[in-house]
């Protein structure tokens, strides 16, 4: 399908889902925050967090059934690099108070300066990481 319309439609769905969470629960749809909130010693409001994350998983199954091509194979193959990347994403999103959804969508949409700085920072280091791994170390073409 159209390389512009489909991503745009996907984005609109993400925006709608985030709006539903704000309208009904008064919550910010930050995936790392929703997940990380479950790891506290005495997790508060477990219910909606688990329900939302369960919804993500159900969505994954629906995609696998109806649109399997949308779930591309991982680009990392080595176990060590996969674990390192996961650790960085987990620790980094909690230290920085958000990820692509919390800072990149919800934060930017309310004009937060923190979220703008965070988004520019993780975009920059992500692009730099891809540049180094692809064009300096020369993995994939």
């Amino acid at each position: 399908m159209n390389p512009v319309l489909l991503p745009l439609l996907g984005g609109i769905l993400i925006g709608l889902a985030s709006a539903v969470l704000l309208l009904f629960h008064g919550r910010i749809a930050g995936i790392s925050g929703i997940t990380g909130g479950l790891l506290s010693p005495a997790p508060a409001d477990v219910g909606w967090r688990v329900a939302f994350l369960g919804g993500l998983a159900v969505g994954g199954v629906l995609l696998a059934v109806f649109r399997p091509e949308s779930l591309g194979p991982p680009v990392l193959t080595s176990v060590g690099a996969t674990l390192a990347a996961g650790l960085l994403v987990g620790f980094g999103t909690r230290l920085g108070g958000g990820c692509t959804s919390g800072h990149g969508v919800c934060g930017l949409a309310r004009g937060s300066k923190r979220s703008l700085v965070a988004t520019l920072t993780f975009m920059a280091t992500a692009a730099l990481t891809v540049f180094i791994s692809r064009h300096v170390l020369g993995g994939a073409s």
Partner: protein
Amino acid sequence: MKSLITLSVAGLAGVLFALGLGLGGMTDPAKVVGFLDVAGRWDPSLAFVMAGALGTYALLRPLILRRTRPVLAERFPPPPQAAVDGRLVSGAALFGIGWGMSGYCPGPALVSLPVGGTTVLLFVGAMLVGMGAFRAWEAVRSARMMRQPG
């Protein structure tokens, strides 16, 4: 009854969010890396995911905040007051490195979890360990601050 509605709405929002990520292309790590590869054959299509999400949420948010309270909760969250600091920048920087390495940010990784095989399982496991490590680090740090005020 109310709690059942609360859970259903949150679950439905999760499904919708996942479908948006999937249709938009965010659950294809090669596509994400292609978007981040500005020096190579740059694939800008994921910018439209961000534009669509940002535009929709920015449009609906002020309408929602006209209400005095959320439909199923007591109050809307106060906007965070924290300033831009070293934690924000270094956390975002570390996250970006992991995102660039794997092509997975937390949402797409969780969406891919039930069907993504060993790599996604390892990634999400390590991500949860990383989040737990942050919590432990913060607990140690605040205990130390308490012992040595100022």
